[in-house]
């Protein structure tokens, strides 16, 4: 870059020209042209294109609103197949969930509290802090929370799909499936349990699996089934 440098010496201005510049600069300074403009700002009319842009935005907004309301009116949102369920402290759900799982007001899960959930023919969804857990039909889980605020879920039978959205630095979410421990720190994975063992499939993010002495990390699309 420096090799490409010209040498252009400016043609000097006359003394009179400099005197004119200097006197005019001080005239302008005397008029306060260098001062920041005051709080009263008189603005001219906004250009036509600003008005046209604003009108266009209003029109688009109206159309979108009308379309949304119309759609809501004629096609009410379909009921989700899986209803959300929040756990009450020390909730005893060992009686199992029916085909249409009930929905309760969200209540914080007290540390140390435990609950057992058994799903029947329909799946169920529970929200645990920053994690969302979907229990497949005919699943059996024990939910508890440790003293540090992390939720632990023990999968006794069936399948769970967990999506932990806890930001970094927050308590993680742990699933036990037999001797295997699956730790979530912001991931989406499916864990299933059968008599033969357990399977972990990661959909998004990373999970850490501890199985006995083995400790490995699984990424998106990876699947692990301990022997």
């Amino acid at each position: 870059m420096s090799a490409e440098r010209f040498t252009v010496a400016p043609e000097p201005l006359s003394r009179q020209a400099w005197e004119r510049v200097e006197s005019r600069v001080f005239e302008r300074l005397g008029r306060g042209e260098h001062l920041p403009s005051g709080s009263i700002v008189v603005r001219g009319p906004a250009p036509v294109r600003v008005w046209l842009g604003a009108a266009g935005l209003v029109l688009v907004g109206t159309v979108v609103l009308w379309w949304g309301l119309d759609r809501l009116h004629h096609h009410p949102p379909a009921q989700a197949n899986v209803a959300p369920l929040s756990l009450a402290p020390s909730a005893d759900l060992s009686h199992g969930l029916g085909a249409a799982p009930s929905s309760q007001a969200a209540t914080p899960f007290a540390p140390g509290a435990g609950a057992r959930m058994i799903t029947a023919a329909a799946p169920a969804r529970i929200v645990l802090g920053g994690a969302e857990v979907t229990l497949a039909a005919h699943s059996d889980v024990l939910v508890s929370s440790s003293a540090d605020g992390a939720f632990e879920l023990e999968l006794v039978a069936g399948e769970v799909e967990c999506q932990s959205m806890a930001p970094l630095g927050r308590a993680s979410f742990v699933v036990h499936a037999g001797p295997n421990r699956v730790r979530f720190t912001g991931a989406h994975a499916r864990i299933s349990r059968s008599e033969g063992g357990a399977t972990v499939s990661v959909i998004e993010g990373w999970v850490r699996v501890q199985s006995g002495a083995r400790d490995l990390e699984l990424g998106p699309g990876q699947r692990w089934a301990p022997l």
């Binding site: 490409e4 440098r5 043609e11």
Partner: protein, 201 residues
């Protein structure tokens, strides 16, 4: 090295003192500041625009802008360099909105110099053609190319003056230089000027 650093620090302290006095309304200090900066401001404007056309108005605008921005001067750079950066911004605004825009939009005059004038005339004509090519570019590119190739400014300074990112400045300067050399290949006098002026690269 230490002596050099202490000299620089002393200069900056002197600049800061002058700026402070000018800011407090001391008319003598304001005149002193204008005279201290006039060479660097004029040189920058001349090197960016390639001539003294509209120069008196541009100098006035630059100094009014310098006095307006004086409260923001932090003495972390030389007052002259700081003033020159403001002058470059004024030149850019002039190219974007001033009479120079009309000049740029006018078709280029027909070149009648079939035989280039000898001696200094060649230099002058070469320079005129060089700036004619710059004027056909976008104002930001014009200013960037002149500041780098003529005024020897760094990419960081050019990026700060033109408001483009460093990467964008680098990329666009590359394209602008290529365009300039394409023009020079078609114009022997411009090529001769650019080669002699030290732009061969």
């Amino acid at each position: 090295m230490n002596n050099h650093l202490s000299l620089v620090a002393r200069d900056h302290a002197k600049d800061a003192g002058l700026a402070r006095r000018a800011l407090s309304g001391d008319r003598a200090a304001q005149h002193e500041l204008l005279r201290a900066l006039r060479n660097s401001v004029h040189t920058t404007l001349y090197r960016v625009l390639g001539g003294n056309e509209h120069m008196e108005e541009l100098l006035q605008d630059s100094f009014v802008e310098i006095f307006r921005c004086l409260p923001q001067y932090r003495a972390d750079s030389q007052l002259e360099a700081w003033g020159a950066r403001i002058a470059a911004r004024v030149a850019l605004q002039h190219l974007k909105h001033g009479p120079a825009k009309k000049d740029r939009d006018r078709p280029a005059p027909v070149q009648l110099h079939l035989v280039p004038p000898p001696g200094d005339g060649v230099h002058r004509e070469g320079m005129r053609r060089y700036y004619a090519v710059l004027r056909r570019m976008q104002p930001e590119l014009h200013v960037a190319l002149a500041l780098v190739m003529v005024d020897g400014r760094s990419l960081e300074e050019v990026s700060e003056i033109t408001g483009m990112t460093i990467t964008r400045t680098k990329h666009r300067l590359h394209r602008a230089r290529r365009k300039l050399w394409d023009n020079a290949r078609r114009d022997p006098l411009l090529m001769s000027y650019m080669t002699r002026a030290g732009a061969a690269g």
